[in-house]
């Protein structure tokens, strides 16, 4: 079986190369202040991660990336630039929008053109949702752009009305919206948990799962999936699917009592999730393999999972050793390994 990898990281090794995509008025800001918001807040992870030291944040050259793919039977890979969605966490709006657009064009030019085995994730600056919608319609029409990344860290839940132009554009273009862990609490966004700032790396690393769940709940109850039936949401490195499964045991129950608050939601939240949401397998903590797969199979999670290597980062997995790709009874490994991604990203041509 050849695989589709739904979380493959790329980065730029040379700031100057990316700066060229910016108007001259902003190039100096990027070159001097790259990694900082206008308010001076750093746009980097706030906790020291010893395992990440000296490890790449992404592939910087396509050849190495493609070679890895060939060595591991990965036929298609969805590219993410880890830092890119953080543009939404800057305090201003013009520069982040331009930077997002620059990044998107750089991705197309430097990675996608001429390499049909690579598919790309564009990003937008959510500070200007109307402009973001335009960017989605423009660069989102590129045949290899398959989804739109928004920052996981925000000031408002994504179901709020102000974000609608972004989701409408994405749904119109058939592009899923993806939230990738990593920007929670970055720059001007909210603290990463409801308890304010975590005090250590372990406490911080619990936040992506709860943050994603909060956005998902907002999108469901505010009616995004009711109003935009084609909208799809992807969560990457948000703890895998088990936190969401246990959460749905509560959310479904609450919905049965509180449906009248959101009468445009006409089915259980878990039914909405199964149709509209997909999750990467990366970052799932499998404490007891038997119990883990028992719970996932009971939920039908193999219909929802997108296998993700997270290469070449410090916590990357290789497909040969990933339990999600092991054959087991009642587990549709072809769906996890390729078909869910193929269906989600509209890969109808022969793979």
């Amino acid at each position: 079986m050849t695989l589709i990898d739904s979380d493959f990281h790329v980065t730029w090794s040379d700031n100057a190369a990316l700066a060229e995509y910016l108007p001259k008025a902003w190039q100096q800001r990027f070159l001097r202040g790259s990694g900082h918001s206008q308010s001076g807040l750093p746009v980097t992870q706030p906790f020291y991660n010893p395992a990440a030291q000296g490890q790449p944040g992404g592939w910087s050259e396509p050849e190495a990336a493609v070679t890895w793919m060939e060595n591991h039977q990965v036929e298609k890979a969805i590219l993410h630039a880890y830092q890119a969605p953080a543009v939404s966490n800057f305090g201003d709006a013009d520069y982040p929008s331009l930077l997002a657009e620059a990044f998107n064009q750089w991705l197309i030019d430097h990675w996608l053109d001429g390499r049909t085995e690579l598919l790309g994730t564009m990003t937008v600056a959510t500070q200007d949702p109307v402009r973001a919608g335009k960017e989605i319609r423009k660069r989102g029409s590129h045949p290899q752009i398959v989804q739109v990344a928004l920052s996981a860290g925000t000031l408002q839940p994504y179901g709020k009305l102000g974000f609608r132009p972004i989701f409408e554009a994405a749904a119109e273009m058939g592009l899923p919206v993806v939230l990738h862990a990593g920007t929670e609490g970055v720059a001007v966004s909210n603290p990463p948990s409801s308890h304010g700032w975590p005090r250590n790396l372990l406490e911080y690393r619990v936040c992506p799962a709860t943050n994603f769940i909060a956005h998902l709940t907002s999108l469901i109850t505010e009616g995004l999936f009711s109003d935009l039936p084609d909208l799809r949401l992807v969560g990457l490195e948000v703890g895998g699917v088990l936190p969401l499964i246990t959460y749905l045991w509560r959310f479904d129950k609450n919905y049965k009592a509180l449906r009248s608050e959101c009468p445009w939601v006409r089915e259980l939240p878990s039914a909405v999730v199964k149709r509209h949401v997909r999750l990467g397998t990366g970052s799932a903590a499998i404490g007891e393999e038997h119990l883990y797969f028992e719970l996932l199979e009971s939920f039908g999670a193999d219909e929802m999972l997108l296998w993700s290597s997270n290469q070449p980062r410090w916590d990357a997995v290789e497909p040969e050793s990933d339990p999600h790709l092991k054959e087991r009874t009642g587990w549709q490994v072809e769906k996890v390994g390729r078909e869910n991604a193929a269906a989600l990203y509209g890969m109808t041509s022969a793979l």
Partner: protein
């Protein structure tokens, strides 16, 4: 009495089921009662209500109480006995009350005074209303000196079982600023019950990292995620490493999330042990030893066996305790709330024995009367 008789008495005490131990009843101490215990200088502020009262989101169901509970039942011990304790066979009830906001306002002195007034009103005027009642204290976590003084004031009272406070606070719950409180609580043998509530109110951060929700259904579902972050904070910030006798209980936060949380924290501890040097054991060990959970509102997977599997992995033999949350709307009926795959022994552990283990100190200081024991 012969050794044999002692032994069989002991055995029957362990296996008998005396009734239900309900670890959460929202008995309400009337504001007027609290007011009389409040020093005069704080009364105008309290009566003016200028302390960020009010719910975040309009709640379509029409309020938080069961519609078949009589109005004001929670303020009337006789009604509690008539409508809850008798019909359900509850032999011990922990009053977790209301007034969870004593740690979230800016006026530290007012908060500490409120907590002290509540405690005096509860213990001296409400607790005597029924022999089944055990009480819990309010504290101002932002004034550790005053909080410790309150703990010490009531540490020897036979009917005070612990502390009830909100999961939400002004800083992360495992903060070292709270250490004197944890130490005093552990020393007194008080269980700290964290009720998922107050998120986003007064000085607390927004109810989720995503920001403020629009509707109660978002908010209430999201309280489970608040409990996740809370438990992660206590464990990873070394609260249980520093206070090995401390035990805590989550009220209404859900349970099943503890399984992926344990796995996540254990995996990260293996990788990043250097970043949390106070933790000498796996995080899941701390969780299983120190953290307990109420069943209510019980999670409802389609397949009841999934719930049993998750409960077993977390600790159905020890950590999971029953509560009614009377008179709130999301009440669980003890006869019908557990899926049928739970054995009778497991039900009885959840309905009584686990709570008896958690509140062992209180059962010694305020034992079940012979008349309360249904042999």
């Amino acid at each position: 009495m012969s050794a044999l008789m002692e032994h069989s008495k002991q055995t029957s005490r362990e296996t008998m089921f005396p009734g239900i131990f309900d670890v959460e009843i929202h008995a309400h101490v009337p504001n007027s009662t609290i007011l009389t215990r409040l020093p005069q200088r704080f009364r105008p502020a309290y009566q003016a209500g200028g302390m960020a009262h009010g719910k975040l989101n309009f709640d379509q169901r029409g309020g938080g109480n069961r519609k078949d509970a009589s109005a004001g039942a929670e303020s009337d011990p006789a009604a509690i006995r008539r409508e809850l304790l008798e019909p359900l066979g509850i032999c011990r009830a922990i009053l977790t009350g209301g007034n969870y906001d004593t740690s979230i306002y800016a006026d530290l002195d007012l908060c500490s005074a409120l907590a002290a007034a509540y405690n005096a009103a509860l213990i001296e005027e409400f607790l005597p209303g029924d022999d089944a009642f055990l009480g819990t204290l309010r504290l101002n976590f932002n004034d550790p000196e005053a909080a410790v003084a309150e703990i010490e004031r009531w540490a020897d009272h036979p009917r005070v079982a612990g502390i009830t406070t909100s999961t939400a606070g002004i800083e992360t719950p495992g903060s070292r600023r709270y250490d004197p409180i944890f130490a005093a609580a552990a020393e007194a043998g008080f269980i700290i019950s964290y009720h998922t509530t107050q998120e986003g109110r007064a000085l607390c951060p927004p109810p989720s990292s995503a920001g403020y929700p629009s509707r109660y259904v978002e908010y209430h579902s999201g309280l489970a995620t608040s409990a996740i972050g809370h438990a992660a904070s206590l464990i990873t910030n070394g609260v249980f490493a520093r206070h090995p006798k401390l035990r805590v209980l989550y009220l209404e936060g859900g349970i099943a999330w503890a399984l992926p949380l344990m796995w996540q924290l254990d995996a990260d501890w293996r990788r990043f042990r250097s970043e949390v040097p106070e933790l000498k054991e796996r995080p899941s060990e701390y969780l299983r030893r120190h953290i307990h959970f109420t069943t209510q509102p019980i999670e409802e997977p389609d397949n009841g066996r999934d719930l049993l599997a998750v409960y077993k992995a977390i600790g159905v033999e020890r950590n999971i305790v029953f509560s009614t949350d009377f008179p709130h709307w999301d009440f669980d009926h003890p006869d019908r709330f557990l899926p049928s795959c739970f054995s009778r022994a497991q039900r009885e552990r959840i309905l009584y024995h686990n709570a008896a283990g958690l509140y062992d100190r209180s059962l010694q200081s305020w034992p079940l009367a012979r008349s309360e024991v249904a042999v």
